[in-house]
Amino acid sequence: MMDMLGSAVPAFATVVHPYTLFIIFTGIMLGIVLGALPGFGSSQSLALLFPLTFAMQPEHAILFFVAIYSAAEYGGSIPAILIRTPGTPAQAVTILDGYAMTKKGLAGKALKISLISGVLGGIISTIIFIVGSSSLAQIALQFGPGEMFALGLFGLSIIGTFFGESPAKGFLATGIGLLLATVGSSEFGGLRFVFNQGFLMDGIPLIVVIIGVLAAPEAFRLLVDHRKTIEKPIDQQKRKELEVRNRLTWPDIRRLIPTWARCSIIGTVVGIIPGAGASVGALVAYNEEKRWSKRGDQFGSGIEEGLAAPEISNNSVVAGTLVPTLTLGIPGSGAAAILLGMLVSKGVEPGPLLFTEQPVFIMTVFIGLIAGNLIMLAIGLVGARWFAHVARIPRRILGPIVMILIMIGTYAYQNYGAHVAMALIIGAIAYYFERLHIPPVPIVLAFVMGPIIEHNLARGLIIHAGDLSTVLTRPITVTILAMALATAVFGIARSRKGGKAKRG
């Protein structure tokens, strides 16, 4: 670590060079725009912009990629907050309080909280990375198939019990998400639930599930329920009141400090676990914050903590993901895999020796991450004002625009009309399910986590010839499984208590 701190000066000089700042600025702008578009998450954005790095030096290329990655996570929260259309899977949780704040007329405030939370998440996790990257990497090494399976079950226990009005409906939605993830080729070489349809051979794409479950029902709602809605014009006094309410005040910031502190650590820790990803980070952070916050019972109704928790966590995951990627050469997410591929193509070999042999390169990445987040803060504060105007578009006009955008975005994935049709069918069913309080978010999150859980369950069974007891009794695994059980029991008890109170 002392070597790295000694490399700070030349690294700083590299980052503040006008060309480097231009690269970072361009990466941030592209990342925000692409992250905001349905169909373009961080992985797709990086894949799309990979050719631009061919002529860049390794340090510029990685700074460009890291800027895009961070900005895409923030960019995805803009449509999630404004029109309930997440740009990336991690924003499935952002929708809960983010969109609720927009419905209360607080879109501007929500965007500012999302931005500041994202920037703080990036900076805090970078500092943690600088201080403890090699120790954190050792923790990541302890996570084998049993631990990953247990983490997946923990995630499912959160999903099932904390979303929706009843755990039964929550777990039902979770099961639907897990089932959708099994469609297509399995890792054992067989085909499952394809019914001889060619478009199902590769499974149901994530974009189809995200759009179908989260965005399409909202588009249907805007088109059907608000076909003739005429918003009353806002008078001058109400407009001034809204302007005041949309300001982020010092009491708001003071109230958010504990949330930011807790959830940035959660996001960084989740990020270092290979395969977990920003959606798991956002989910765990939201759950924990709901438990710890004084206003936990108001989560989902549009409160600041409910938005700040997933937002700071999913940006903390970015730096956390770099830990196993750079220290061990193990990509922590799809986006990290692309980043790893880019580094190898530039002749940079990730691994423990990278820190001792190229300390200036590593410090350049860290300082570049911090600089990128500060640039994103400046861009976002200016942009938030304009983005918030989207919330003022009359709902009857917004409906067709949202629907065409999500259909084009889904089609853009693989130019397949069948994907658009699937997303619309899922959307129509989800529109009906929402009326019955069957929550949609668990479907998306379970869909993301299903392959992680199945893959690690299968690995554990194969490694131990069908005997899971050895795997499931490891200390970290037992701890996480106990947390999963406690979460499920606590959630069911809380739901029963709420039901009795309602009947009483």
Binding site: I176, L223, K232, I404, A412, V420, A421, R435
Partner: protein, 189 residues
């Protein structure tokens, strides 16, 4: 945000009825898929996982959660049928006709896209939807051919502009391959 008035021929449906239909449907699909799993290839070695393990675990979870919920709703419905409806039973509104018409328009887009091209499909889709939305509610007495012409023209202009923006972003900037018919002849980089 100020709230406006909503109108439409919404139908009131009991949540318990809706739950029975939804959960019953999910359970029926789950049971059918359990049967389907018996046609999957067996695992390579005894004791090893195969294609069927994880799907059966998930279908078991769905049946475990869905069956008690279905049974509870069924007994609630029977209790509701035995007593006079007091109006306290939870209901939800759904505009079935409006939804079906909207769904028909929306579902036509992915099918028309490769046939008539991105430009015409997008403009047609948006024009149809905007025409009935730009002016808000109008009564039969107020609707005249002149109003209809103005609404269609305004919708057409907005739709063309929206289509051009989408073309610029997705086709030109992001190089997404769309079934375009004639725009590349006039606009390209």
């Amino acid at each position: 945000m100020a709230d406006g008035e909503e109108s439409g021929k919404a139908r009131q449906i009991l949540v318990s009825t809706g739950d029975l239909i939804a959960v019953g449907g999910v359970l029926a699909v789950a049971f059918a898929l359990v049967v389907r799993t018996f046609s999957f290839a067996p695992p390579m070695l005894p004791g090893y996982p195969g294609d069927d393990l994880f799907p059966r675990l998930i279908l078991g979870l769905i049946i475990l959660c869905g069956a008690p919920l279905f049974a509870r709703r069924l007994s609630e419905r029977r209790a509701q049928a035995r007593r006079d409806r007091t109006g306290d039973d939870e209901t939800f509104d759904i505009d079935v006709g409006g939804f079906l018409i909207t769904a028909a328009i929306v579902f036509s887009f992915p099918f028309l896209l490769p046939v008539i091209g991105f430009e015409i499909a997008t403009v047609a889709f948006l024009t149809v939807l905007f025409t009935t939305r730009l002016h808000g509610p109008v009564t039969a007495e107020v609707v005249t051919p002149a109003i209809i012409r103005a609404a269609v023209l305004k919708s057409l202009v907005i739709s063309v502009i929206t289509m051009l923006v989408l073309y610029s972003v997705f086709v030109i900037l992001l190089k997404v391959s769309m079934p375009v018919m004639f725009l590349p002849k006039y606009i390209q980089f």
